[in-house]
């Protein structure tokens, strides 16, 4: 019973009744609650293991989050990484490997925002890491890039191009080494390889492996826009390949100025340091240099090409490989253009007007074509490639591109924008991606560049087989250049390249003159920018210097001659305003002068006086290098007239050119004169003997006759007045001027010394001094020293100098000796003055006697006696003068007697003691002792 009851207690039956609510079961779950996820964007604990983001995540956390399944987390991690790395750049270096591999893996992430964040992070990271540190990871990066580019999903493909942009921007060199994989990827992006019969658009005989354009309707942009973006990347990539070519090819670093300068390959020599081998024990490895028949260039290279690009089976250097590549690419490009142009033509019936979009497309196509040609660096290879292009594609190009040449921009009507506003918007986006709108001028110029490379070399005249398409190009160029509008330097460079090419290939004088005329019109414009001006200038000068000899039609061009003749005038007009431009001009003038261009030399002759003007001529205002060039040009002048010589003499002495340059100038004049005896056999006489001598005499004096004349009547403070001891009044020049003049005088003396007949030369100089200088009362000190310096050097033993000259010399000598005593402060000037006086006194006969005779002690006042005594002791102290002094011993004795006699001081002064001591030492002979005894 109890058991039963109990069991009933345990299992009470719940009675359910109709109409009543069902009671809730005891074990029913109450679902009346809300759950919320616990989100841990940041850690609570402050970890001390390295720096963290503001969410307290360190780099390990972030990197591990990149593997998270949730795309939001991944994106957050990428953003966090960017924040962390920008705050702590050192982390980038520590974790380069991890960061790059993880980020690269996200290139193919299926979520668009993650990819965008990954690209942003990549852009940031690549700014921080130098190229050489990325290089080891680059295979990985490029593998992921390739993966993304060939991904089945279109959006991933599009983003892959962004990655490519980043890499191109920062690591063009590394990227261009992997061109064999990447180029194929580009094809995949816009086309598909046809296998067997699976033809996409249904052509009749699809050859295996041929690419045809693919068409995908799923993309967010039109096929044409897509292709444009791809082509843009392709052209950038090719640009990188061309520019990042290994330096050994020697063609990479030529700048825009040299772009047309011919297709010469140059070699880079290697430097061998012998110190390294001098103590080495092993036998030096010898390499065959050139054999019995040397090659034209020493082509020895340190490393062969094949080792350079490791892992590249096909190198884009030879014409064959480029041909193979171009064979695939060019038909695709043509197809793209045909499609785009076909679509255009529906809208407009005038074929030469293009919408901005197709214009950009065409521009990219042409850029790629141009780059293809530049892929081969060697000149001969390039010729092969040009010929191949001509044979294969000339007809196509002519048909598709040249038919509507000069292209213009189609004005898009306003209402169209409303009709398909969305499309237009996308179009604008694409256009901005494509680097802004392409100007029609840029397009046309690029087209010219591409087409001109196809023209046949050595085509005899304009009516060759290419005339039908070269004609419009020529007209276009002429029109553009001579329209008077200002062109940017980039367009101008391209145009000039086309002109150069046309001139060289079409050996027709008419064509050359027409084109050069157009360029010359451009050149003659005023207010051109410096770069543009330099560009035009270097175009002409290169044309003249390099291509002149090989092409008689260029040599005979009147425009070129006209341009050359205008150079000296331009130089004069330019003055000191733009030294670089002047240097450029001078270079051309020099080479033309060296080649003996008659027109130029005539103009130069006419303008010489203003070029070499001592006040504001080019020779004094330009920098040293240009001054040197100007002096060198002087050599080539057919005649150097007296006026020019007087200018030059002033230039030498003005001190605005350095002493060494003045020396060079004088030597040039010297060599040009028949008196120097070098240029024998030439009929013409560039410098007349009279002019030559007067030039050197003027340079010797350092002052023109007018200046000297004016000097006589000035009463400036700087003049040292004349006295009994110094018969001439002296103008003290600055130390700088004095030293400069001294150097000049040295050279003058040397030149005059080497003239044929010394006696005659001395006679001329003597007459000149007597005529021009002897009457002067005021003389500059440098003039005095110059005369004293030059006379002993030029003196001939058989020729006795005239009395007038000797008196003048003795005056000079006395004045200088007097000056010497006052020149305590500057030893350099003092040394030179003394040297001049001393050599003159010792070398010129009778000069010392005259000097001694002019010491008239009786006329001196009390203060001057010490001065005289100092001069005398100076002369006596010098050992080399001793013999001369001995010869004049009686005179000397007389003077000293007078001196002691007239000196009325009570105490014997120091100077007198010195003098008497010197005298006794010098004349230490019995006679001298006698004299001494008499004196006391």
């Amino acid at each position: 019973m109890t058991k039963k009851r109990k069991r009933q207690d345990d299992f009470q039956k719940v009675k359910l009744k109709v109409g009543k609510k069902k009671p809730k079961a005891d074990n029913a779950t109450d679902v009346n609650f809300r759950s919320k996820a616990i989100h841990l964007p940041e850690q609570l604990k402050q970890s001390n293991a390295g720096p963290t983001t503001h969410r307290q995540l360190n780099i390990k956390d972030l990197l591990s989050q990149l593997h998270h399944y949730n795309s939001n987390v991944k994106q957050g991690a990428l953003v966090g990484l960017r924040e962390l790395l920008s705050g702590h750049p050192t982390l980038v270096e520590q974790h380069t490997s991890a960061i790059l591999s993880e980020v690269a893996a996200l290139f193919t992430d299926k979520d668009g925002t993650v990819r965008a964040a990954a690209v942003r992070l990549l852009r940031f990271v690549s700014q921080c890491i130098p190229v050489e540190r990325v290089a080891p990871f680059f295979p990985l990066l490029s593998a992921h890039l390739t993966c993304a580019m060939t991904h089945i999903s279109e959006s991933i493909q599009e983003d892959a191009l962004r990655v490519l942009d980043v890499l191109l921007e920062h690591f063009p060199g590394l990227l261009s080494q992997r061109h064999n994989i990447l180029l194929a990827n580009f094809f995949e992006l816009i086309s598909q390889r046809r296998m067997g019969k699976k033809g996409g658009t249904g052509q009749d005989k699809p050859s295996k492996g041929r690419f045809v354009l693919s068409f995908n309707t799923n993309r967010s942009v039109t096929a044409q826009q897509w292709r444009l973006t791809v082509l843009l990347r392709l052209s950038r990539f090719l640009q990188a390949v061309v520019e990042e070519r290994p330096l050994e090819e020697g063609m990479t670093n030529r700048n825009a100025l040299e772009m047309w300068a011919g297709e010469k390959s140059s070699t880079t020599p290697i430097e061998v340091k012998w110190e390294e081998h001098a103590f080495g024990k092993g036998r030096i490895q010898m390499f065959e240099h050139s054999g019995a028949t040397p090659t034209p260039h020493s082509t020895y290279r340190l490393r062969p090409d094949s080792n350079l690009a490791v892992g590249m089976n096909k190198d884009l250097n030879s014409a064959e490989t480029v041909q193979g590549f171009a064979g695939t690419l060019v038909p695709l490009l043509l197809e793209i253009w045909v499609e785009a142009a076909g679509g255009e033509r529906v809208q407009t019936d005038s074929g030469h007007l293009l919408s901005p979009e197709s214009m950009a497309l065409m521009f990219q196509i042409l850029t790629i074509l141009q780059l293809l040609r530049r892929l081969t660096p060697q000149g001969d290879q390039q010729d092969i490639l040009d010929a191949w292009f001509r044979n294969t594609y000339l007809a196509d190009f002519k048909h598709h591109f040249m038919k509507n040449f000069p292209y213009g921009l189609l004005e898009v009507a306003r209402h169209k924008k409303k009709v398909d506003g969305k499309r237009f918007h996308q179009q604008a986006v694409v256009a901005t991606v494509a680097g802004g709108n392409v100007e029609p001028l840029a397009l046309n110029v690029t087209l010219c560049q591409v087409m001109v490379t196809l023209s046949l070399k050595g085509c005899s005249d304009g009516v060759g087989q290419d005339a039908d398409w070269l004609g419009p190009i020529r007209d276009f160029i002429k029109e553009t250049l001579s329209s008077g509008s200002k062109l940017s330097s980039k367009h101008l460079a391209a145009l000039l390249e086309v002109v150069w090419r046309m001139i060289v290939t079409q050996r027709s004088r008419v064509v050359t003159d027409e084109l050069l005329q157009a360029v010359y019109v451009q050149y003659q414009q005023r207010n051109l920018g410096v770069t543009v001006r330099t560009l035009l200038l270097s175009f002409f000068s290169q044309l003249y210097i390099e291509e002149h000899q090989n092409h008689p039609h260029i040599a005979r061009s009147k425009i070129l001659a006209c341009w050359l003749a205008s150079l000296p005038v331009q130089l004069v007009q330019l003055g000191s305003r733009n030294p670089q431009l002047s240097a450029h001009l001078l270079e051309t003038v020099q080479s033309a002068a060296a080649r003996g261009n008659k027109d130029l030399l005539n103009i130069l002759q006419k303008r010489a006086c203003s070029l070499y003007d001592p006040q504001d001529g080019c020779v004094v205002v330009l920098p040293v290098e240009s001054q040197k060039k100007l002096v060198q040009i002087l050599y080539f002048l057919p005649v150097i007239p007296p006026e020019l010589l007087s200018c030059l003499s002033q230039v030498c002495n003005a001190g605005r050119v350095s002493a060494s340059l003045a020396t060079t100038l004088m030597r040039t004049i010297h060599l040009r004169s028949p008196l120097s005896g070098w240029s024998s056999g030439s009929q013409d006489v560039p410098v007349k003997d009279v002019d030559y001598l007067s030039f050197f005499f003027t340079t010797l004096t350092g002052f023109s006759s007018e200046t000297l004349e004016a000097l006589q009547h000035t009463d400036e403070d700087c003049l040292l007045p004349s006295s009994t001891l110094s018969p001439l009044s002296v103008l003290a020049t600055t130390l700088e001027q004095f030293l400069h003049h001294w150097d000049v005088v040295e050279e003058v003396c040397h030149c005059l010394e080497t003239l044929g007949s010394r006696a005659q030369c001395f006679d001329v100089i003597q007459t000149a001094i007597i005529k021009n200088l002897c009457g002067l009362a005021v003389v500059p000190d440098c003039l005095c020293t110059a005369v004293l310096r030059c006379i002993p050097l030029l003196l001939d033993i058989n020729f006795l100098p005239s009395d007038t000259l000797l008196h003048f010399l003795s005056d000079c000598c006395l004045t200088m000796l007097n000056l010497l005593l006052q020149l305590e402060q500057s030893t350099r000037k003092r040394d030179r003055v003394w040297e001049a006086c001393f050599t003159a006194l010792s070398a010129v006969p009778r000069l010392l006697r005259l000097v001694l005779q002019s010491f008239r002690v009786c006329d001196l006042c009390e203060e001057e006696l010490p001065l005289l005594a100092q001069i005398l002791s100076l002369l006596l102290q010098h050992a080399q003068l001793r013999n001369h002094m001995m010869a004049n011993a009686s005179l000397l004795q007389h003077i000293i007697q007078d001196l002691t006699h007239f000196y009325s001081g009570e105490t014997r002064e120091q100077w007198l003691t010195d003098l008497l001591y010197c005298y006794s030492v010098t004349l230490s002979g019995p006679r001298a002792n006698m004299g001494m005894r008499e004196m006391y």
Binding site: E275, M286, S290, A292, T663, W678
Partner: protein
């Protein structure tokens, strides 16, 4: 007295006593003198050791002497213009002359004018052959020096006008002198210029190896045979010796006097017009406008001897003494033909002769220099290893073999002789 190995050949522009004279470099005695006219600068040359050619100063002809007949001109070669420089190829086959701005090339054996090269823009000042006559270098007053390949210049049927192989265009004033080192096409060449520099170039590549800047214009330049030193004659009469062995790495340097090789020879009072170094590199000869020729000892920089001339020295050179020079009875092995004045290839056809000129690739037959060096090396090793002599047994066998061969050859020769005499003497 035995004839000297080397002689000094010099000429001055006065020509009072003689046109050019031969001196003993060691004794300084005048050995021979050639009379008639005077010679202009850089235009005295010895052709094949048998003739002396010198261009008349200011006139349009070249004086030619047979080297043993000093008193008589062999002929006068009349040229289209005044000859400014003259050079004969070391192998004696060609003569080059610079007339105004054109280079004239004659073939000695026929006297034909082979080429007129006008690539210079102004008058030529000097020219020089490489020692193997394969190339020549010309310098002009247009600042250019051109390197020419002789075989490409003399090509008969080439449609193009000959082009120089290299254009050396780094000088900025006229070139005054050129000197070619040894080693044929691999030689180095030095050019001196009024722009106060001397530049050393490589002929094979045309690249500049060294440029030395002085404070005066340089009028003459030469190497010693080993190319240890470069000697440069300045326009102020100094001769500068530049050491080429210094280990400075820069290509441009300024001359500075120092103790290791860069020195100055002082003595001349006027510009040094010509320089020459003897075969052993110990003697330096210099001629100057101060009318002296000086002989210097290179080692001690002293002037050993001074030979006074009557006018500015135009040419002075140390040359190996030609064999015929001191043998008055000798005759030149080939007579010198008349040099033609016009470029006329059709004339050759009339003579019916066949013109054979060395092709561009005749030199291919010789081995490369590396092969030659190896050969030489193995030969030198062979001597030390005694493998040439071998042991006695082998030598005997070898000698007997060779004797046998000689006998066979003699027999063949005899048979051939008999056969041909029979053929010739047979009455027909």
């Amino acid at each position: 007295m035995s004839a000297p190995m080397e002689v000094v050949l010099s000429a001055d522009s006065a020509g009072q006593l003689w046109n050019c004279a031969v001196f003993d470099p060691h004794a300084g005695t005048n050995l021979l003198s050639y009379r008639g006219g005077n010679t202009s600068a850089r235009s005295l040359t010895v052709l094949n050791g048998e003739y002396i050619l010198g261009a008349q100063l200011g006139k349009n002809f070249i004086n030619v002497w047979e080297i043993q007949r000093k008193d008589q001109l062999q002929q006068k070669v009349v040229c289209p213009g005044i000859v400014t420089c003259l050079c004969a190829s070391p192998n004696g086959l060609y003569v080059l002359a610079g007339i105004a701005e054109a280079i004239y090339l004659w073939e000695v054996s026929t006297g034909n004018l082979l080429a007129i090269l006008s690539r210079h823009y102004q008058d030529l000042s000097c020219m020089c052959f490489t020692d193997d006559s394969s190339h020549f270098v010309t310098g002009g007053k247009d600042n250019l020096a051109l390197v020419w390949n002789l075989s490409s210049v003399v090509q008969l049927d080439s449609p193009h006008t000959p082009e120089p192989r290299h254009i050396l265009s780094l000088h900025s004033l006229p070139i005054t002198d050129i000197h070619c080192g040894l080693m044929g096409p691999q030689a180095r060449v030095a050019t001196a210029s009024l722009d106060q520099t001397v530049k050393v170039w490589e002929i094979s590549s045309g690249q500049m190896l060294l440029s030395v800047l002085f404070d005066v214009g340089i009028m003459s330049v030469t190497f010693d045979p080993c190319e240890y030193f470069l000697f440069c004659g300045g326009s102020d009469g100094n001769i500068f010796q530049v050491s080429l062995c210094t280990t400075s790495l820069s290509r441009d340097k300024t001359f500075q006097k120092d103790n290791d090789g860069n020195q100055v020879f002082k003595g001349h009072r006027n510009l040094v017009t010509c320089l020459s170094v003897s075969m052993d590199g110990t003697l330096l000869l210099s001629g100057s406008n101060d009318e002296t020729v000086r002989m210097w000892d290179v080692q001690s920089k002293q002037c050993i001897r001074s030979i006074t001339h009557k006018g500015p020295v135009t040419n002075a050179a140390i040359i190996p003494a030609p064999a015929n020079m001191f043998v008055p009875d000798s005759r030149p092995s080939i007579p010198l033909p008349r040099f033609s004045r016009h470029l006329n290839p059709s004339e050759q056809g009339d003579a019916g002769g066949v013109c054979v000129r060395p092709g561009a690739n005749t030199q291919d037959l010789e081995g490369t220099y590396l092969e030659k060096a190896d050969e030489l090396y193995s030969l030198m090793c062979a001597i030390t290893d005694k493998s040439v002599f071998g042991d006695g047994e082998n030598t005997k066998v070898r000698v007997s073999e060779l004797e046998e061969e000689v006998r066979t050859l003699k027999k063949i020769n005899k048979d051939l002789y008999e056969f041909s005499t029979q053929l010739l003497t047979k009455p027909n």
